[in-house]
């Protein structure tokens, strides 16, 4: 997997201070994408899990990690993301994981795919859905357009229905 960027710490990609991993490559091609260059699977540098884990372990201010991109959950990226998240949960059991995806939760469930399901089991909050320019709203929290949702994945899986995070 290629990495389009990495934030050591950020306050605007989920609650609390979080590290943010931007993978490269995205199949959705939403019009007016804010990271157009990251749609290319060859953009950026190689993802080095050891290096990223070291940065995370050295920083006591962060309390979680956000997966962004690019598209972390597309077939080309998902295996590396899963490996990373499992290691993260092992080394930092108290960290929560947010994930931005252009797929909807329903699409991901419908995949009926082991890797996807295992990753969802390890994700706490999923911001799902493609970016839709016509539904863009600057007042929204942690997302760009109103069709996108901030989902409490644990509750979604438990209740087997859509549960959004309340702010």
């Amino acid at each position: 997997m290629k990495m389009a960027g990495f934030y050591d710490e950020s306050i605007s990609n989920g609650l609390g201070w979080r590290a943010v991993l931007f993978c490269s490559g995205c199949p959705h091609h939403c019009p007016n994408c804010q990271n157009l260059e990251a749609q290319d699977f060859n953009y950026g540098q190689d993802f080095n899990e050891d290096e990223i884990m070291k940065k995370i372990n050295d920083n006591s201010i962060i309390k979680g990690v956000t997966l962004s991109g690019g598209e972390p959950l597309c077939p080309q990226n998902i295996k590396d993301e899963l490996h990373f998240v499992k290691r993260l949960k092992k080394e930092k059991p108290n960290f929560n994981v947010w994930c931005y995806t252009g797929y909807t939760y329903e699409e991901l469930k419908a995949r009926n795919d082991e890797t996807t399901n295992e990753l969802l089991d390890n994700i706490d909050v999923l911001v799902d859905g493609r970016f839709v320019e016509a539904k863009k709203d600057p007042d929204l929290m942690f997302r760009g357009s109103s069709n996108q949702r901030v989902l409490d994945v644990k509750e979604c899986l438990k209740e087997n229905k859509i549960v959004e995070v309340k702010f």
């Binding site: 306050i11 609390g16 990271n35 600057p138």
Partner: protein
């Protein structure tokens, strides 16, 4: 050929003027006038300038000086230089240019020295005229020769030099209880003791506004919650009495009732005494809220100090756990969160949360709920900042949780960072005390000079600045450090002496020159009569030795700054540690409270750099930017995590008892994420830092009220309006528009990194 005169006028070249000047200089010497030599030199100068369309008086004078130095009459050169210097003093021709700039409301660095001041108003201009004319007066007549030279050469900078002749002191932490309980006289009116929250809050404003006119620095209230709490209770009783009248009922048994919490509740369903009490509480809370709103509004609108500046006001609070104190804190936070006018962020007062374990920091602490709220307010409004009372150096062992006056032993700060606490002439407290004056050392200037001397001494020759460390030998490093430390001591000594001289000058004032300040507000002044000298009480204040550009100085000395190498950090701590040690010696020598200050350098941030670049040229990592980094800060352009920054800057807090601050730049809108503010306070707690806050941007659409954290917001994404107001922080103060920033500070702003660049997040 034409000559540009000092005042900008252009006149024709006249050789006779040169002859006249030389003969006048000759007349002052033993050898007397030699008209032939004078004619000869004037002729040579004219020849040398031949072909030039235009020249300046300065250029001609330099040529004359050189010719005289090369002639047989060197003593005439000396006389000529002295003559020229005296003429310069007499002329002060620069004044005219400066005045023209002020009149023309031109945005240059003279009128932009102070981002919070509007120098375009008549009162503002009047102040600038005065300011620009007193500075040269101070140089010529109030400074001793070695100090004057050190200032002129750019080694030291005397802050608020324009106020020097007025004998004013810098700042004060107001003991507000004195005037609230006793009333006071200011201007043409006197005020009786306060009886209710509205008057108490307004008296707080008046106190700061009045004393601001008597000083040259900021005004602060060290324990806002403790001081105003009694008036919440008085207001409650007043409300009970109103009910008595309204209901024609005796409720005097409730005068001594102590509400457990002043929180509004619906009256529906409440009966009897419970209802009477709750109604009074509801009305009290409303009145306290309005009083806090009025306080904020007043501090942002009433211009003091000649009518051109709002007060540089700060309030410290957070540790009063009484229901009344908590009410003050809660309503101040509420009002701040709501904003002024149509919900705009208030610039003043700077609010400072006094963070203390056992009181308000940990879950279970009595004011923990208000601390959480404070973080939420900071996320949206930049304030409150946080002073860490748990830092080892911010504690006073006399503090006792059952002492109703325990705030007296709590360290308070001026919003800008000035800290007054330790005291060799009385109790360790901030209350009723302040800084007398402060002067800043140019560390990069001293470092460059030391490096050049070390090269000479060791025979090494290389370009200074970033990347130079590979060329350095151990011997060179030892040599340059020794030279630098010696110079540091030399100029710290000059600074200490200068501060002492200013102190002696301040001591010649009598109490009535500072009508409110010296009538009981300044510690000990209650014992002074109007015509008494202020000398006996001035020793309660502090004398600050500040420094600028540690990062650039280290780069000049060893090729890297303290964020780039452990070796540089070690040296940085030695340098500031040396200053702290010297300040201890000065305190003993002069028997005064000297302290090291991590200077908040607004007007200064570009001045030293300009001087040094002119002297030494552009040096990579040293003089290659428009500004020097403030005090011991990690340069704003360095990419490092908040925790790395904390680790580097924290140890300097203990060394800089005259004041320090820790900042974190946020990469987005914390309004949605207040726990990130708590994380910054946690860093302060973890690394024993004294005072800190967050920097972020708030852009606001003046049309529809939309707000976000985009510093480059030019068009509102909601309504499309281009009326955008952007607030940022400059040396501790918030500034509503960057138009009032000077060029060096603007350059610094542009270099500030939020550490997350390239790819965009949410």
């Amino acid at each position: 050929m034409q000559v540009i005169k000092r005042d900008g006028r252009v006149v024709d070249f006249n050789k006779e003027r040169i002859v006249k000047a030389i003969t006048l200089a000759m007349a002052q010497t033993q050898g007397g006038v030699d008209i032939d030599l004078a004619n000869k030199i004037a002729g040579e100068v004219e020849k040398q300038l031949e072909g030039k369309g235009q020249t300046s008086v300065y250029e001609i004078q330099d040529l004359v000086e050189n010719k005289l130095m090369g002639s047989s009459r060197k003593e005439v050169a000396k006389s000529y230089i002295t003559y020229r210097y005296n003429r310069d003093i007499a002329r002060k021709s620069k004044t005219k240019e400066v005045f023209l700039d002020i009149i023309g409301a031109k945005a240059n660095d003279i009128t932009r020295e102070n981002a919070n001041m509007n120098a375009d108003t008549p009162a503002g201009m009047m102040m600038k005229f005065a300011s620009e004319t007193t500075k040269p007066f101070v140089d010529d007549f109030l400074l001793s020769p070695d100090v004057r030279q050190a200032v002129k050469d750019g080694y030291i900078h005397i802050h608020d030099k324009d106020y020097y002749p007025t004998k004013s002191l810098t700042c004060l932490q107001h003991p507000l209880d004195r005037i609230l309980e006793n009333g006071f006289r200011a201007g043409h009116g006197s005020s009786r003791p306060a009886k209710r929250i509205e008057t108490a809050s307004i008296i707080g404003c008046i106190s700061m506004e009045t004393v601001q006119n008597e000083m040259h620095g900021g005004q602060a209230i060290p324990a806002f919650d403790f001081y105003l709490a009694p008036y919440v209770k008085k207001t409650f009783i007043e409300e009970i009495k109103k009910e008595e009248e309204l209901l024609d009922k005796d409720l005097s048994n409730l005068y001594n009732y102590s509400p457990k919490e002043y929180i509004k509740k619906e009256l529906k369903g409440l009966t009897g005494e419970e209802r009477d009490v709750q109604a009074a509480i509801n009305n009290t809370v409303n009145r306290v809220h309005q009083a806090m709103e009025a306080f904020i509004h007043n501090m942002n609108t009433i211009h003091s100090r000649g009518g051109n500046q709002v007060v540089f006001s700060s309030i410290n609070y957070g540790t009063d756990i009484s229901p009344e104190g908590r009410c003050i804190i809660r309503e101040m936070l509420e009002s701040t969160y709501e904003g002024v006018g149509n919900g705009e962020t208030a610039i003043f007062p700077i609010q400072i949360w006094k963070k203390k374990r056992g009181v308000n920091y940990l879950p279970g602490d009595p004011n923990y709920d208000l601390y959480k709220f404070a973080c939420k307010v900071t996320a949206k409004r930049f304030f409150p900042n946080f002073i860490n009372l748990d830092a080892t150096f911010n504690q006073n062992e006399k503090w006792n949780k059952d002492d109703p006056h325990r705030y007296y032993y709590e360290c308070a700060t001026m919003g800008c960072r000035t800290r007054v606490f330790e005291n060799r002439h009385g109790e360790k407290t901030s209350v009723g005390r302040g800084n007398l004056s402060f002067t800043t050392l140019n560390l990069p200037g001293l470092a460059i000079e030391s490096a050049l001397e070390a090269q000479e001494k060791t025979g090494l020759k290389f370009e200074l600045g970033r990347g130079s460390e590979e060329k350095m030998t151990d011997k060179y490093k030892k040599t340059v450090k020794k030279i630098f430390m010696d110079k540091l001591e030399e100029y710290a000594n000059i600074t200490a002496k200068q501060l002492y001289e200013r102190y002696r000058f301040q001591c010649t004032a009598i109490a009535k020159q500072f009508p409110l300040l010296m009538a009981g507000m300044w510690a000990g002044s209650e014992k002074l009569g109007p015509n008494d000298s202020v000398e006996p009480v001035l020793k309660q204040g502090t004398l600050g030795i500040g420094f600028i550009g540690l990062a650039e100085a280290l780069t000049a000395l060893i090729g890297k700054n303290h964020a780039e190498s452990d070796e540089a950090q070690k040296l940085g701590l030695e340098i500031v540690g040396k200053l702290k040690e010297l300040v201890g010696e000065f305190s003993d020598k002069y028997d005064l409270n000297y302290s090291v200050l991590a200077t908040p350098a607004e007007g200064l941030s570009g001045r030293f750099t300009k001087i040094d670049r002119k002297k030494y040229g552009t040096i990579l990592g040293v003089t290659d930017r428009e500004y020097y980094t403030n005090s011991n800060h990690v340069p704003v352009w360095i990419k490092c995590t908040a925790e790395q920054k904390a680790k580097i800057e924290a140890p300097y807090h203990d060394l800089t008892r005259g004041g320090h601050i820790f900042y974190i730049e946020l990469d987005g809108d914390a309004t949605r994420n207040p726990e990130t503010i708590e994380a910054v306070v946690d860093l302060m707690d973890k690394y024993n830092m004294g005072y800190g806050s967050v920097n972020h941007t708030r852009s606001r659409c003046m049309n529809c009220g939309f707000e976000n954290s985009d510093a480059n917001l030019h068009k509102c994404p909601k309504c499309g309006s281009e009326e955008i107001d952007t607030i940022q922080r400059i040396t501790g103060y918030l500034v509503g528009t960057t138009k009032r920033w000077n060029s060096a500070k603007l350059a610094e702003l542009n270099d500030r990194v939020t550490h997350n660049t390239g790819i965009k997040g949410a």
